[in-house]
């Protein structure tokens, strides 16, 4: 005798329910009850279950159980998976290649060329002694404790993903700034991408792509990290002084002249801030993406969790922090250099 039998009778839905509860797989609760010897425990009004799918199913077989529902979602997803794959696979294949090439490329450069090269890049983009020294010391330290290879792999993934995120994100942001309709349509999507817990990205991607493919984690990272650069490009262009835009109009600038000669240069500080955020978010995601075979420092952290190798996990975590700090410092220093040369 289930709780909601009375309700079904009262509403006259017995026929629709179709009598017997079939011999479907048991739910966990039923299994537990059976294991306890089938004795029905005392019930009081306080134990009244919520009329959920499972509770209703006990009274009416036609109501699906919640496991049927998740099963249906899974089947639905699997059903669209193949056609989706036909489209997405060729589209995203270049991402796999890029990630693999970058990994091979970064790793094949010997350390005695790579470290000086990174230091030189840091110097020319920031022109700050402190940041340059930080970059040099960090990489020498990581190389000394044999975390150099992992750090370089992480760096190469961030490098590829950030470039793609910027190449896609800036044009999307520009388009959003020019069309209110597009902005209204995009903002919920961006909100969703940003609020979705990072693990959740991985679930549908694992179904769509093989775990052995690099694009799996590439897509997860890009989807997560592209949001700030889109948002800040849109915002930056919309924040450009209306008077300056009016002057550009009054002198007969074409839309293209206005975009590249006025709006984008004046929005550049905001766009650069967006790129900085995108880099930081790529780094956050690349660690989580090690769950789906992204190589690098994240793997070491994962090893620390799985095998309880406390030391390895902590040191790898420290290296990630180091990488985060130096990426943040270098991009911010480069950003402030742009700001001051603009004298805006």
């Amino acid at each position: 005798m289930a709780t909601y039998d009375g309700l079904i009778e009262a509403t006259g839905l017995e026929d629709w329910c179709g009598g017997d509860v079939g011999d479907k797989p048991l739910t966990m609760a039923e299994l537990m009850a059976r294991a306890q010897g089938g004795a029905t425990p005392e019930t009081s009004i306080l134990d009244l279950p919520f009329p959920s799918l499972d509770a209703l199913n006990q009274s009416c077989a036609a109501v699906p159980r919640s496991r049927d529902m998740t099963e249906a979602v899974e089947q639905g997803f699997l059903a669209i998976k193949d056609p989706l794959k036909v489209v997405l696979d060729p589209l995203t294949q270049p991402l796999s290649w890029l990630l693999d090439w970058a990994l091979i490329g970064f790793q094949s450069v010997p350390w005695f060329i790579m470290i000086p090269a990174l230091v030189i890049v840091a110097w020319f983009s920031t022109k700050k002694v402190g940041v340059t020294v930080l970059v040099a010391v960090s990489f020498i330290f990581m190389a000394f404790i044999d975390f150099y290879d992992d750090a370089i792999m992480t760096l190469s993934i961030i490098f590829v993903c950030t470039i793609i995120a910027v190449l896609l994100g800036v044009p999307i942001g520009i388009a959003m700034s020019r069309s209110n309709t597009l902005q209204r349509a995009m903002i919920p999507v961006l909100d969703m991408l940003q609020t979705l817990p990072t693990f959740v990205y991985l679930v549908p991607l694992i179904f769509l792509f093989s775990v052995t493919e690099s694009k799996l984690y590439g897509i997860a990272i890009i989807l997560y990290a592209i949001v700030p650069v889109i948002r800040l490009t849109d915002l930056g262009i919309r924040l450009v002084d209306k008077d300056v835009i009016e002057a550009a109009d009054a002198f007969g600038m074409s839309n293209r002249q206005k975009l590249w000669g006025v709006q984008v240069p004046l929005a550049l500080p905001n766009i650069m801030a967006g790129i900085n955020q995108t880099i930081m978010m790529s780094l956050a995601m690349v660690v989580i993406a090690s769950l789906v075979s992204a190589p690098g420092l994240g793997v070491k952290v994962l090893a620390g969790i799985r095998n309880l190798e406390l030391g390895v996990g902590l040191v790898a975590g420290f290296c990630i922090v180091l990488l985060a700090v130096l990426l943040d410092r270098s991009t911010k220093a480069a950003l402030s250099r742009i700001d001051s040369s603009e004298r805006a």
Partner: protein, 351 residues
């Protein structure tokens, strides 16, 4: 003079709101500004504006904030689209222009100077000054040469490599003027160009503008809320109130014959001696006068004549223009002209 109209505004209406066309019918049927806002939720920006602007003259459009003057000037180069009416420039209706032709108009025929300068902060002073040339697709060398030339003309030689933010407000506006001049356009639109500057700099800039104008003879449309500035610069003065023209004409004429309490109120506080000129109050005659104390120029202002007469109201002067006598000035008339009858009568004042 009348055969040389450069810009002509005909029956121009601008209504802001969701359905301006329907509101326009109401306005044409005689619904007023306040009523339109309360009953229909539309703002009447401009109503039935008719102004002719002569080539080579400074037309000043004056009004208080909210009178629609900035809206009006933006109709000339279509930064704002009118609800109804015509804007004719060089005999062509600007409103019929497509985008390409409109861009051409803005690049070649009309340049603009803004109240807040609106310089490009990421470009140097020289690049800003030559901007109008670069927009037209002229090469960098030409743009820099023209920019340089006009920067020098407005007194900013040596500041080419600076950025706008490094200059004071007055200097920034000089860059704004150089930018407008370097496009070589026949028409210059100046939207409260000097309103953001402090009084001394403003006077300097007004003098600079008049000096440039004597040389260049552009058709200038100047917007201001400052009557002294308007009277100083205007060849033709248009007074705007609540989106409608209250009175327009020669500034001296408006001063001596105001036709609206609003204008009387407006002009009651100005220094008439400095604004009024001898030619406006003289007796027009070529008869040789008697008892003459000397010669004065027709374009002299009354202040200088008072100084000359040392305050003696019994004197008479011969008024000369280009070496010829054009009239006689009686100091008695001069003193009378200083006291505006309408303004002195409190009953006729609005406030």
């Amino acid at each position: 003079m009348t055969d040389n109209i450069k810009v002509s505004i005909r029956n121009l209406y601008k209504i802001f709101g969701s359905d301006p066309k329907a509101a326009l019918e109401q306005v044409r049927a005689g619904v007023g500004k306040t009523h339109l806002l309360e009953e229909h939720g539309h703002v009447l920006g401009l109503q039935n504006i008719n102004v002719d602007m002569q080539a080579g003259e400074i037309t000043v459009i004056m009004g208080l904030s909210g009178s629609g003057k900035s809206t009006l000037i933006r109709h000339l180069n279509r930064l704002i689209e009118p609800t109804a009416g015509e804007v004719v420039v060089n005999g062509e209706d600007v409103l019929a222009y497509d985008d390409a032709r409109l861009a051409q108009l803005r690049q070649n025929t009309m340049s603009m100077v803004f109240q807040k300068f609106a310089l490009f902060p990421h470009r140097t002073v020289l690049e800003n000054a030559g901007m109008s040339r670069r927009v037209r697709g002229e090469d960098g060398a030409t743009a820099d040469r023209e920019g340089q030339k006009w920067l020098k003309r407005v007194g900013l030689a040596g500041y080419e490599g600076h950025y706008p933010a490094q200059l004071s407000g007055g200097m920034q506006q000089r860059v704004g003027i150089a930018r407008a001049l370097s496009s070589d356009s026949e028409i210059m639109l100046m939207d409260e160009a000097f309103s953001a500057l402090d009084p001394l700099i403003r006077t300097d800039m007004q003098d600079l503008l008049l000096e440039l104008q004597r040389e260049l003879h552009k058709t200038i449309v100047f917007i201001t809320h400052d009557l002294d500035e308007a009277l100083k610069l205007a060849d033709h003065l248009v007074i705007l109130k609540d989106g409608a023209v209250v009175q327009q004409g020669e500034p001296q004429d408006i001063l001596l014959h105001p036709n609206d309490p609003y204008i009387i109120d407006f002009i009651s506080d100005i220094n008439r001696a400095r604004v009024l000129r001898v030619r406006s109050i003289m007796e027009v005659t070529t008869q040789p006068g008697t008892n003459l104390a000397g010669d004065v120029e027709a374009n002299q202002n009354l202040e200088s004549v008072i100084a000359l007469s040392e305050g003696d109201t019994n004197l008479n002067y011969r008024v000369m223009e280009n070496g010829q006598q054009v009239g006689l000035l009686h100091m008695r008339d001069l003193v009378r002209a200083l006291v505006p009858v309408e303004a002195a009568d409190p009953a006729r004042r609005v406030a």
